[in-house]
Amino acid sequence: MNSRLVVLVVDDNPADIVLAREALAGSSIHSEIADCADGEEALEFLHKRQKYVNAMRPDLVILDLKLPKKDGLSVLAAVKSDPDLKQIPVVIFSTSQLHQDIMRSYELGANCYVSKPGNLNDFFSAVKSIEEFWFGVVRLPPQGE
């Protein structure tokens, strides 16, 4: 069966998705990466609706805050208030340094908040740290309903 861990990256900037993929491609964990470009699409993916009926349930969501259609905080709120989805760890990955964004994210149940670094190496190491921590250090909720 599919034993690879799945990361869903939600970001409207394709350049950032490419960078995240580059970062994860170099790691030894070999997780599977899916991506969505807006908040609505992300929720369709998570609920396995529309074109995502066959989507895999992600083990980790890396979520940007500034998203078209439905912003990151709304997606976070929707995930964390859904009994089927709320066990999935959600990492907010945003350039926003605003205290209210950070506070609001944790209030809504974000599992952690990581600032998107401007520098390539910092960006790579941030993404790798997220992967290594959640897929290497942490005990994730057991899969399979």
Binding site: N13, A15, L19, T95, K116, G118, N119, L120, N121, F123
Partner: protein, 394 residues
């Protein structure tokens, strides 16, 4: 009533004359007075009209004597006359008041008026004397002054608005520039990582310049953002022990203190009503600069505070390279640098942030310095909170 010697002398001079001559002399004085001196009956009919009244109101005596005083009143002030006549009828004075009257040519004139009852030999009130003074010039000056004050208020509001606009612009610009710049930085770095040594020597050099430029711009934008945030935040005020702020600051600066073998000492520092983070930023920037701009010897830095009834005055003194007098002002400007980046790194934002923070608390900051001897940065924080709203930290 107190009389001066001069008026007493004048009185006695007049009263020592024969009665008819004295009356004539008095009439001449009244007539030549610049103020309008008018008498009227208790019904408000004009009985006497001097030269001053002619000048002020434009009517000669023959045109008005026997006519009602009301002819001088604007329609909307006709009530004044009945009030005046009532008071006079009761034997009371009408104290000096300012009002408007109408001239012969129909124009209005600002006057100050005093009215007193006239009594006959038995003390019965038989009429009133009215003294009116032309106060047009004073009224116009007052109006001009009020207009100027209004203009000034308007301009200040305009300035405040354009300042706020500018600040908002700096914030939005620096904030929104971050995102595309992040792409440029990351991807030039990725390019270099992947293709360095695979193109030619020129390409490698070009990539190096592009990366360096993008990185420097990133720092500049972050600094600008930090600077404009100082103006945007609500000004929190909490009890802050400056001594403990100093401990935090020295902990943050520990690596550069150790590296430069700096000796930082501070006296007894007050407890202030301010924002801890902002205050720490001021101390950290000033002490950080004192360490950075050192001479070939370990920096010796002293921080002291003293109070006067109005404010706390802080001094951060060093034995560093010093600043020439002609730069003492402009070092506080945004991105102002006096040295090559290779000599002393930095963007020149630190002191402008200090200035902005200090000024937000209603204080001032300046420097006294001598080249090759050292600098003393002085800043003040007013003891009492006048301008800012107190906000407790959430």
């Amino acid at each position: 009533m107190a009389q001066t010697a001069a008026t007493r002398a004048a009185d006695s001079a007049i009263f020592s004359l024969p009665a008819a001559e004295a009356r004539e002399r008095l009439a001449a004085i009244v007539d030549s007075c610049d103020d309008a001196i008018i008498s009227k009956t208790l019904d408000g009919v004009i009985t006497a009209w001097n030269g001053g009244a002619e000048k002020i109101f434009g009517y000669v005596s023959s045109e008005v004597v026997g006519k009602p005083m009301l002819m001088l009143f604007p329609a909307d002030r006709a009530d004044e006359e009945s009030d005046i006549l009532r008071r006079i009828g009761q034997g009371k004075n009408v104290d000096t008041f300012e009002t408007v009257r109408i001239r012969k040519d129909g124009s209005s004139i600002d006057v100050s008026v005093t009215i007193s009852p006239i009594r006959d030999e038995r003390g019965i009130v038989i009429g009133a004397s009215k003294i009116a003074r032309d106060i047009t010039a004073r009224k116009q000056a007052e109006k001009r002054l009020a207009q100027q004050a209004e203009e000034l208020t308007r301009r200040m509001a305009e300035l405040a608005r354009s300042n706020a606009d500018l600040e908002q612009f700096a914030y939005v610009a620096s904030h929104d520039l971050q995102e595309p710049l992040r792409m440029v930085t990351a991807y030039t770095q990725l390019l270099a990582e992947r293709y360095r040594g695979k193109l030619d020597a020129n390409a490698d050099r070009f990539m190096g310049y592009a990366i360096e430029g993008a990185q420097r711009m990133q720092v500049l934008i972050q600094d600008l953002l930090a600077f404009s945030r100082v103006g945007k935040q609500d000004l929190y005020r909490q009890k802050v022990d400056c001594g403990s702020v100093m401990k935090d600051v020295l902990r943050a600066l520990a690596p550069s203190v150790a590296e430069s073998a700096a000796v930082v000492s501070y006296g007894v520092l007050p407890v202030l009503w301010a924002d801890r983070t902002l205050l720490a930023q001021v101390f950290q920037n000033l002490i950080g600069n004192a360490i950075k701009f050192r001479r070939q010897m370990p920096p010796v830095i002293t921080v002291t505070a003293e109070s006067n009834p109005r404010e706390w005055r802080f001094r951060v003194s060093d034995n560093g390279i010093g600043i020439a007098a002609e730069h003492a002002e402009n070092i506080f400007a945004v991105f102002q640098r006096l040295h090559a980046r290779s000599e002393y790194p930095g963007n020149g934002i630190g002191l402008s942030i200090c200035k902005k923070i200090v000024e937000r608390y209603g204080g001032r900051i300046w420097v006294k310095s001598e080249i090759g001897i050292g600098s003393t940065f002085v800043f003040t924080i007013p003891s009492h909170d006048h301008g800012t709203k107190e906000v407790s930290k959430a």
